[in-house]
């Protein structure tokens, strides 16, 4: 069974608007990661937030983590056409050899 579940499954916004995607998970985690996948390509790591962190920023990305609610959100500010992609959250274990469990993703479309 999947650990992370993204919401919504699909999101379409106007260029320049902010996009928010949510992820919920079931069990305790060491870290949570967000990845981007452009159509038909491999995944690219965006950001990792550890279980003892509440918020993290990277450029136009802002990730929050609420371990009490077992949820995370990814905010992309001032969206661009190049942000059109699928976004996945992934929950990580306690070593790099642990399995990372991916959700089924949010498909983001940016309208010009």
């Amino acid at each position: 069974s999947q650990q992370g579940e993204e919401d919504p499954q699909a999101l379409s916004i106007q260029e320049g608007e902010n996009a928010t995607m949510n992820c919920s998970y079931k069990t305790s985690i060491n870290n949570l990661q967000w990845y981007r996948q452009n159509s038909g390509r491999g995944l690219v790591h965006l950001i990792l937030i550890r279980s003892n962190e509440r918020e993290k920023h990277s450029g136009r990305l802002r990730v929050t983590l609420d371990t009490s609610k077992k949820s995370s959100s990814l905010l992309i500010t001032a969206s661009r056409a190049a942000d059109t992609a699928s976004y996945f959250c992934a929950t990580g274990g306690y070593s790099s050899a642990s399995k990372i469990i991916f959700g089924s993703g949010t498909r983001l479309s940016i309208r010009p």
Partner: protein, 114 residues
């Protein structure tokens, strides 16, 4: 720059054929992973390896095997391809321990079994 390459972007095979998917990373990473990705199901882990000649089953290992003879290369083998193995296959690698857990992905191989 980190680089993971996969032997083919697109592959078409017939039912019953033996299929080899190869993955090579140039980052000296200990850990390597094979996933399959299907619409609505996200990524599912098939096998992973944390060292040369070591392998661990993931969530869906049935119908697959793997080989890791060299650190940089991790091969996925479909012993007898079936139509339900039509999918996108993604390889990834990650360095060991010390709090670095992100995975680096190859571009994927879209396999069609007819």
């Amino acid at each position: 720059d980190v680089k993971v390459t996969q032997s083919s972007r697109y592959l078409v095979k017939r039912t019953g054929e033996k299929v080899f998917l190869e993955c090579v990373q140039d980052m000296d990473h200990e850990n390597m992973f094979w996933y399959r990705q299907d619409p609505g199901l996200g990524l599912r882990l098939i096998y992973f390896s944390y060292d040369v000649k070591m392998k661990e089953k993931g969530d869906i290992p049935e119908g697959y095997s793997v080989s890791r003879e060299k650190k940089e290369r991790f091969s996925l083998i479909l012993e007898s391809a079936s139509t339900n193995q039509t999918s996108m296959y993604l390889c990834a690698s990650s360095p060991p321990g010390t709090g670095v857990f992100e995975q680096y992905f190859g571009p994927g191989t879209r396999l069609t079994v007819t």
